[in-house]
């Protein structure tokens, strides 16, 4: 077992934890955090699996950078919608969710 798999497995674990958080929580901010944890998990898998003894693979690194930017943008967008929703309704969760 190579060290690389440790990273990938950590990524998998983060993804699983994030998924649980995403399901379990109702508070939208927490769900967003869970989403970001899942995202980190995927990025870790992406980078972790690329180390297979043939040197560093720059492609996953580039993909992860793109992925991070996309995640930042999505999170920002979600925060905007969330804040506006909170101000309109005073709720931190979605209706019909509880």
């Amino acid at each position: 077992m190579s060290g690389a798999l440790v990273f990938a497995w950590s990524g998998v674990l983060l993804f699983g934890l994030g998924l649980f958080g995403f399901i379990a929580h109702r508070h939208l901010l927490r769900r967003l955090l869970a989403f970001n944890i899942m995202g980190s998990g995927s990025f870790l898998v992406l980078v972790g699996l690329a180390q297979d003894g043939r040197g560093v693979d720059p492609v996953p690194h580039a993909m992860v950078i793109t992925g991070i930017v996309v995640a930042v943008a999505s999170t920002a967008l979600a925060l905007v919608v969330f804040r506006r929703w909170y101000r309109a309704s005073g709720r931190t969760d979605l209706p019909e969710d509880t």
């Binding site: 990938a8 993804f15 995403f22 939208l28 769900r31 989403f35 899942m38 995202g39 998990g41 995927s42 898998v45 992406l46 699996l49 690329a50 492609v59 996953p60 993909m63 793109t66 992925g67 996309v70 943008a73 999505s74 967008l77 979600a78 919608v81 969330f82 506006r84 929703w85 309109a88 309704s89 979605l94 209706p95």
Partner: protein, 486 residues
């Protein structure tokens, strides 16, 4: 080589227009369509002409060959989707230009979102690279979320938030699937994957992640919950765009990846499961649509139901003979295009009816047939296609799917097709019965501008025409696919 301009223009042009519309004053934003629509139509038609004359091709962005660079695939399927997008989005844009005059606050930011959405969709249709598809999905998905939120009412915000959460979860699952596929095959290009794909645990798990991620974005039952509030509650042109085009994006990716991985890799169990979920969608969506009291909610649930038909593609194409698979391909694409046209028409004409009576309640439509026969006519024509009555596109699609199901001895899908048609007839006639009934509720109606009626009518007629002349489009759609041009 000038002709190759049109391929990158298909996404570069909407992107540029998106930026431009952000820079000009709000009054000028709607007017940009008079530049954009002709140019995009020209580019789409040029791509089609080249496809027909010169055959399918690969476009190497940056001049880098596929696994290193990103390629675009210009085959029949991609071009078909591009033309469909151009037609539907152009008409929706024309509709929106008039419709949004009543919503000045929302209208100024509708336009940049529309162009970015368009760029994202064209990016998806052309993409040959599974990671590029992820970015394209995000562009399309976030633009769609933004459009849903445009109204900024509490309902719209909640719908947008729910949609966003679903979209984010779906994208991440897809991304993880892509990560696993890259780790296994060392390539992101579909052509490379097609060559290398082999059945092993990693591929299967990756496929599961990709499927589920895309299902969530396509809103297949039972993961459809975000769709009705988002599509039913948005501004009318937004609903039309979302229902007609956006959900097709993720389905399209799923279809491509399924075919790329090939019958050795894609498990029959999953195919049948997708078919069963599709059948569930047809029944559940139909039932819910029938129960609705709000016109646009009814149409939104009808989308939930119609998505189900598309997923019959998977059981019909996996592990069946070449003839059945070809029919399934033809039928699914016909259903997809016909639904795009009919659903856009249905939403637009529903918007017109709502505008005319000033209420979203179906029960308030009593007697509207006397005042707005044209809006009702478009609604009916589109309904004909959704019900699958001849000679509409919906009928042709179902006819082909029926043949495929019979040929592959999967008669149980026939029941879905038949009962689904009856259910759609039930909810379409529910609207009709109300509008033909004479009642005291209204004695006059507001007359919406002619543009609104005409755009809806064009789309509705197109959904019928595509069924009448199905032969040629289906031939083009097969160009460059595994089903040959036979």
């Amino acid at each position: 080589m000038i002709g190759l301009w049109s391929v990158p223009l298909l996404f570069a042009l909407p992107l540029a227009l998106g930026i431009l519309s952000l820079l000009v004053t709000p009054a000028w934003r709607p007017r940009l369509i008079f530049v954009g629509l002709p140019l995009l139509t020209l580019a789409s038609v040029d791509v089609l002409a080249r496809l027909v004359l010169e055959g399918p091709r690969i476009y190497e962005l940056g001049g880098w060959e596929a696994p290193l660079g990103i390629n675009l695939v210009v085959d029949g399927l991609a071009v078909g989707m591009i033309l469909m997008t151009t037609l539907v989005a152009s008409l929706c844009a024309l509709y929106a230009r008039v419709y949004l005059r009543d919503y000045p606050a929302s209208s100024s930011f509708f336009w940049p979102l529309l162009w970015l959405l368009w760029a994202g969709m064209n990016g998806i249709w052309l993409a040959e690279d599974i990671f590029n598809l992820y970015v394209g999905l995000e562009v399309m998905g976030l633009a769609a979320v933004g459009m849903v939120a445009l109204r900024a009412t509490p309902q719209a915000l909640a719908a947008a938030m729910r949609y966003l959460l679903a979209a984010l979860l779906g994208s991440l699952a897809y991304l993880l699937g892509v990560a696993l596929l890259y780790a296994t095959y060392g390539t992101l290009s579909m052509a490379g994957l097609q060559e290398a794909a082999a059945p092993n645990a990693t591929t299967h798990v990756a496929l599961a992640l990709i499927i589920l991620g895309l299902l969530l974005k396509t809103a297949l039952f039972p993961l459809h919950a975000w769709l009705p509030p988002a599509h039913g509650g948005a501004l009318t042109p937004v609903s039309a765009l979302l229902s007609a085009l956006v959900i097709k994006g993720s389905f399209y990716i799923l279809m491509r990846i399924w075919l790329v991985l090939g019958p050795e890799v894609t498990p029959i169990f999953t195919a049948q499961l997708l078919g069963v979920l599709g059948a569930g969608a047809v029944f559940y969506g139909g039932w819910m649509a029938w129960r609705q009291h709000h016109l646009k909610q009814l149409v939104a649930y009808s989308t939930v139901a119609q998505i189900g038909y598309l997923f019959l593609f998977f059981p019909l194409v996996t592990g069946t003979g070449p003839e059945a698979a070809r029919l399934a391909w033809d039928g699914t694409l016909m259903m997809l295009v016909a639904h795009a046209l009919a659903k856009a028409a249905l939403f637009l004409s529903a918007g017109n009816l709502i505008l005319a009576v000033g209420s979203t309640q179906i029960s308030h439509l009593v007697g509207i047939s006397r005042f707005r026969p044209m809006s009702l006519f478009s609604f009916g024509l589109a309904g004909v296609s959704l019900m699958g009555l001849p000679p509409s596109g919906g009928f042709t699609g179902k006819w082909l799917l029926l043949h495929s199901a019979i040929l592959s001895d999967q008669w149980w899908w026939l029941i879905v097709l038949f009962l689904g048609g009856l259910l759609s007839a039930a909810y379409i006639f529910k609207v009709f019965r109300m509008s033909f009934r004479e009642g005291p509720q209204i004695d006059r109606s507001i007359t919406p501008p002619l543009t609104l009626d005409v755009t809806a009518l064009i789309l509705a007629s197109a959904s019928i025409l595509i069924g009448l002349t199905a032969h040629l489009p289906l031939f083009w759609l097969r160009l460059g696919s595994a089903f040959g041009a036979g």
